[in-house]
Structures are given as structure tokens and as C-alpha cells.
Amino acid sequence: MKVDWTTFWPKIVEALGETIIMVILTLLIASMIGIGIGLMFFVTREGNILENKTVFSILNILVNVIRPIPFIILLVAVSPLTRTLMGTTIGTMAAVFPMTIAASFAIARVVESNLVSIQPGVIEAAQAMGANPVQIIFTVLIPEALGPLILGLTFITVALIDFSAMAGTVGGGGLGAIAMSYGYQRFDTSVMVVTIVILIVLAQGAQYLGNYLSRFFLRR
């Protein structure tokens, strides 16, 4: 009853493609949202360029309302929205939406913690030159924190590779789902090993790329 590897390989290849698509898609959208929220966190912080207690508190609460919710429950909770946005609540694409929400909020926190270590002097210098908040965000905050930011996003990427297994819950594909349903649930160690090795290779690749880029942008 173990899988027949001759027919199983194509399935793995397909799943690899699904994982990559899920991770990249989630990462792209979540980065945009997450970096946005993270920046908002930072700029509305006490003593910062757009100091705003109300906005900061609202964001802070919002993010922390979503983050502790177990993913499966989040998935169910947002399913009406998923249906509206993606047309369905099942399948790989339907998993991307709740994954994106979870990842966005995680990224927001990572971005926030990376931004606080920017030297306040350079922000001041930009302000003194008349830069508006948007300019400060794009020309100072992001570039100055790029090294650690990339490491942070790499962290999230590897987490997403792990996380993408959750897609299986709603009938989505991907290597993680295969590892779960063909390996774990069927007690088939060979499938587990193969899929996880591929997941690990993916993660290593992402990490190498992240390390390389962060070193490049860190200039240190």
C-alpha cells in the first residue's frame, strides 16, 4: 500500500511547483502588506516621524488579534472573504489568502523590530532636507535597514515553506501536503523523507540567497 514511486515522482514535481508558487505568491503579497504595516508601526511610534498613538495602538491590536489565532481556525474564519476574493475556499490558491494574512502580520513585526535599529540621525538628516514621510520611508528606512530586512524576510520565507503544508487542510497541494497525507497519514516514511528533503533543499536555497543579498546590502 506504499506509494509506487514510478507514478509518484510526477506528483512530487507537481507539488514542488505548487509549493514554490504558494510560497512566492504569499511572500510577494505578504511582503508588500507586511512591510507596509511594519513601516506604519515604526513611523507612528512614540517620537517618530509620524508619531500617532491612535494609529499605532490600532495596528498593534489588529496585528495581535490575528497572530495568536491557530491557523486552521483563521482559515475557517476568513473563508467567506477567501470565497469572495479567490472564488473558492478549496485548493492551493484558496490557501494562499489566509497564509498571506498570517505572513503579512508576521512580516510586519519582523520589519518593525528591524527598523528600530536604524540610527535616528540619518532620519533626522532626511527630515532636515525636507523629505516627506513617504520619501523618508522609501529612501531612508527601507534602504538603511535592508540588510536585516532581507534576513527577516528570509526567515519568513523558510517559515512559509513549513507553513505551506497547511494548504493540504483545504485540499491544496504542495510538498508539505504530500508529506502530510501520503507520508504522515499513511505512515509512509519514504514519502516523508523525500518530500522533506526537497523542502529542506528549498529552504537552504532561500537562505543562501537571503544571506547573500543581506550581506550585499549590509555593506559591512
Partner: protein, 265 residues
């Protein structure tokens, strides 16, 4: 820690599927009046309770049907045996959009469970409903790979068993235990086709109390397994499943035979 000895003082650890929640509280009460100190360990996941049983971390588990148990025994080369039956309930094919199986259009999507035992059952439901054909002799653990004929070109989506009721809105047809459908608030009239749980085909899907082989004669454990047949518990379970599930009493002999058969498949 656990013990194989049937001692009244001893704590008996019973691993259960948390989905059946309140019934177990009643069982604990009943056990207490019999002088058995029963501890319920709720497990959301379905894979670990058997490992835990094999390793002696729990004494009995009651979350799986024979089909599932047989698969575990085979794959892990384990020897867990049933000492009593618990619940059973029909599983049906539900739809919110259609009233007849025949109305299901070409290319429609169908939601089934992704765990091996339930997937096999769901596929066999689809087969008996005349929607697909499965490979000959596929047994009860068929997978989507075993579909040999799919005249309506149905798109079969396998997902978590708890997710099939939730996907109902997005699919033409969804395989759901009637008991769960009740809890999920699905109109029982939406069932287009259901199996008979107590037929020969249904027997593999009778939930059982399982123990390690060496404990099969443990009186305390046996007692626990029979306590479920208490009328009060039976009633409670019926209520919990909106009448869709029931506690059954299948003889241990039948259970063992069925398990044997399944393991040889």
C-alpha cells in the same frame, strides 16, 4: 504512568478523538461509579494516539474505526486489537446545489477526506452512487489514483475530514458523516446518497476501543469498553449528533474478524 494491570486503584488513560467531546465526560462518571479512575486524553490529531498506545503512554484509545486501525497495524507492524465497539454512523454525499445525484453536472467538483481510511470510504461512496468506478479489488483504502472511470470528469478534492462540511458551498458534492453534518448545521435533507453503516461494507467503519494485544483480557479495560453501552450515554450521543450517529454493540469476535480481513487486503 500507565499499567496493564486491571487494578481498581489504577488510573486508566483513554485516548479519544476530541470531536466526540461530551460523551466522554459521561463515561468518566460512569467509570467512577464502577470504581475506575478514567482519564480522558483528547487528541485532535489522528496519527499519534496509536503510537502513544503502542508505547504505553495511554492504555486504551477510542477514536478510530477498524479500517483506520488495520492500516496502522499493517504500516507500523503493530498489534493493536479491538475490545469493544463504540459509535457508528452513516456517511453521506451532501449537496447544497443539487437534489439528485443525476443532476451533478460534468466537471463538477467533489470534496472528500484526505486521510487514507476516509478517502477510501468516500471514494467507495462515490462509486456506489454511480459517479465513478474504482480499480477492481481496491479494498477500503482506495485513493484518487485508483479511479478508473470518471464519466462526469468530476474534479475530486481531498482535504481534512473536518473541512468537507465547510467546503460544501464551494463544491457540488461533499462526503460528510451524517453525525458531523448535524453538528455543522447542515440540513439533513441535503444528503443525496448515504451508506448503511451496519452492512458488511459498513463494518470497517465501526469505531472501536483498541488496546495493546497483551491487554486484551484486562478486565478493567473491557469494563470501560462496555460502559459506553449505558443507555444514558447512548442517548447523549444521539443527541450530540442530532440523531445521525449511534453507539453500537458489535461483538468483539466480529470486530476482530473484520480487522483481520482488512489487514489482509
Amino acid at each position: 504512568s500507565s499499567s496493564a494491570e486491571g487494578n481498581d486503584e489504577k488510573l486508566v488513560k483513554l485516548g479519544v478523538s476530541s470531536a466526540d467531546g461530551p460523551v466522554w465526560d459521561l463515561l468518566v462518571e460512569k467509570a467512577k461509579s464502577e470504581g475506575i479512575n478514567l482519564e480522558i486524553i483528547e487528541l485532535v490529531d489522528w496519527q499519534l494516539p496509536n503510537d502513544a498506545l503502542v508505547n504505553g503512554e495511554i492504555d486504551i484509545n477510542a477514536f478510530q474505526h477498524l479500517a483506520f486501525l488495520s492500516q496502522y497495524n499493517v504500516q507500523r507492524d503493530a498489534n493493536l486489537v479491538p475490545i469493544g465497539s463504540s459509535f457508528v454512523g452513516p456517511k453521506g454525499l451532501y449537496s447544497e446545489k443539487y437534489n439528485e445525484i443525476s443532476e451533478i453536472p460534468n466537471g463538477a467538483s467533489v470534496a472528500i477526506s484526505n486521510d487514507p481510511a476516509n478517502m477510501g470510504l468516500d471514494l467507495s461512496l462515490l462509486e456506489s452512487a454511480g459517479l465513478i468506478e474504482l480499480k477492481d479489488g481496491v479494498g477500503i483504502f482506495g485513493t484518487t489514483e485508483d479511479v478508473t472511470n470518471n464519466p462526469k470528469k468530476l474534479e475530486i478534492n481531498a482535504m481534512n475530514a473536518q473541512q468537507t462540511p465547510r467546503a460544501l458551498e464551494d463544491v457540488a458534492l461533499s462526503a460528510i458523516y451524517n453525525s458531523i453534518a448535524g453538528r455543522a448545521g447542515i440540513d439533513p435533507n441535503n444528503v443525496l446518497y448515504e451508506n448503511d453503516p451496519l452492512s458488511i461494507e459498513g463494518l470497517p467503519y465501526v469505531n472501536v476501543f483498541a488496546v495493546r494485544a497483551e491487554d486484551v483480557e484486562n478486565e478493567t479495560y473491557k469494563k470501560v469498553a462496555t460502559l459506553i453501552q449505558d443507555p444514558e450515554i447512548k442517548e447523549a450521543y444521539k443527541k450530540d449528533t442530532a440523531g445521525q450517529g449511534e453507539v453500537v454493540d458489535v461483538s468483539v469476535k466480529d470486530l476482530k474478524q473484520t480487522l483481520e480481513r482488512l489487514m489482509n487486503e
